[in-house]
Symmetry: C2
Subunit: 312 residues, 2 copies
DNA sequence: CTCTCGCCTGCACATTTGTGCAGGCGTTAG
DNA sequence: CTAACGCCTGCACAAATGTGCAGGCGAGAG
């Protein structure tokens, strides 16, 4: 009943199981309260105390913690996907979680930037009771090609703003222009300044991640790229993009000539946003997502379990 | 990831597994710290969190808590006995634990009262490194019959005092006298006053419990009783004694005529001692021990697992 | 649409827990 | 036996946690 180990378990029992206060334990054992505190610390260190969380998908939570650690993220939010879900279902689930997360973190009068992305587009309408806030929603990238007009990024920010009782700013230019002069002209135009200004004062940014070029067929904006752009990107081994900025597996930004024709927030600017959230899933986005995370452009990640596992 | 249950497990995980502070959790979830505190309370209540103490004889500790609750005791200390131990071994183990416990609770200059009892007698010499203190050890009952002189209670207090670097007071009378006049005379004698005075200022008292009369053969003092005493006690259904005071299963004190011839601390006085410890074990002492505990004479119990279980 | 009711939250304060520092006791080497 | 070393403890302060109270928000009735 005396020896070391035994004392530890006794103290641990009284504290954790009986719920006694350290002071009470100290009195029954005729020891100083500090001593009890130290004994408990030892007991925890020596693993005498094991705490289990019932009914929880602990693995998922552990995975979140690991990812957070691995990429130095502020926060990671994972959803569990079951094998019987279609890709469609998984995307919807992720969009729903993204919307919920936005609701969770948004504060009154926040400036919220939204980039292009199939999942971000699906966020709209996922919430039963969106918080009413006076947030300002702004696009982070230019619009799609004329062929995809109905998926215009303006639509997303407009709908989100309406749901959250806020306002939205529109973007009146396609994501990729034909020349850097055209792009510079637009970005320096008076009507563009509101947007440019908003980009500098973002509180929250939600971005997607683009996968490899080969899969570009279903993209809503990549048809704006020229043959030459694509050639160049392939040559430089692009593995994906974020906000229309391409990079390789090492996180190196590619094709300056293309970047100079792109109307979108710069990644360096995105990096300064207090809460910058990447939302993405699927096997083929793993390499680009991994690169993006390594670049420390975003500080928050929302994805699903299978994608998360592939990130290590 | 959102709903109630899920939030609870998440918070519990971050707090208990990851060891984050409530403040940190509140920040990642964008909630108030108080809310996290409340969520954790709920999680504990709903049993989402299960804490196990590794390698511990948890049952023993649980038993202690139950006994404490059941009899309103200040403290309970149990030792585990294995079936391969002889009765002798078990007694020694209990004596050892009693000695250890005394060492644990004793403070400098304490007045420590010791009653008769086979286990109390064995306490002597059980400690490797007794604390040095200036405690005063006093007997709580008179000595044994002449036939058992070598087990005199004075020997115990003397040895204990020596081990703890303190002093001892002796008692110069047998536990039971032949008449109340003789007893009163002794107890009012000048030389007895030091003892009587000590009884009023006890900080700690260790007492044993006597079993039923039928088993009295191995007692060191019950041969002082007369035939008439024994007849009377049996008639009144005595189940045991403490400090030479007999009681029945309801805790009723018996045989006033005998009590008036007894030289021992009164149970009512024992009740006032801040830390009063009963040390006893074995099946045949269960009824008397149970009665004693119900009387709330002592506030601390040291026994073994099997005896403890039988007390319910 | 308006009002009421009740739950939930944040705030501020009380309690509980954690920790650096200084002093005491025991142990060991000489 | 003495002295030096180191572990352990209590103290006092810092950090973290628990909780009553008041205000806000949404659900539901009228």
């Amino acid at each position: 009943m005396a020896s070391e180990q035994n004392l530890l378990t006794r103290v641990a029992y009284q504290y954790y199981i009986l719920g006694q206060t350290q002071q009470e334990i100290a009195e029954t054992l005729n020891l100083g309260r500090s001593t009890i505190s130290r004994l408990l610390t030892r007991a925890r260190q020596e693993g005498i105390i094991s705490i289990k969380i019932a009914g929880a998908d602990t693995e998922l939570l552990a995975l979140e913690a690991q990812l957070k650690e691995r990429f130095g993220l502020r926060n990671v939010d994972l959803i569990s996907t079951t094998t019987d879900m279609s890709e469609q279902d998984k995307e919807t689930a992720l969009a729903h979680e993204s919307a919920r997360y936005l609701k969770q973190i948004i504060r009154p009068n926040d400036h919220v930037g939204i980039a292009w992305g199939s999942i971000l587009a699906k966020m709209v309408g996922q919430l039963d009771h969106p918080k009413t806030t006076n947030a300002i929603f702004v696009p982070l990238v230019g619009g799609p090609s004329a062929a995809n007009a109905e998926y215009h990024v303006n639509t997303i920010v407009y709908d989100l703003a309406r749901q959250f009782g806020g306002t939205s700013v529109y973007i009146n230019a396609a994501a990729v222009q034909e020349s850097r002069y055209l792009r510079d002209g637009i970005m320096h135009a008076r009507y563009f300044q509101e947007l440019a200004n908003a980009w500098q004062h973002l509180d929250i940014a939600f971005v997607g991640v683009g996968g490899p070029l080969a899969k570009a067929t279903n993209s809503h904006w990549r048809d704006l790229l020229t043959e030459a752009d694509i050639m160049l990107l392939k040559e430089q081994k692009a593995i994906g993009d974020c906000c229309c900025t391409f990079f390789d597996q090492h996180g190196k930004l590619l094709a300056p000539s293309l970047r100079q024709r792109t109307i979108a927030i710069a990644l360096s600017q995105l990096q300064k946003v207090p809460i910058s959230v990447a939302v993405a899933r699927s096997q083929n986005k793993v390499p680009s997502l991994k690169a993006l995370l390594s670049m420390a452009i975003v500080n928050t990640l929302i994805t699903d379990e299978e994608t998360a596992r592939a990130l290590f």
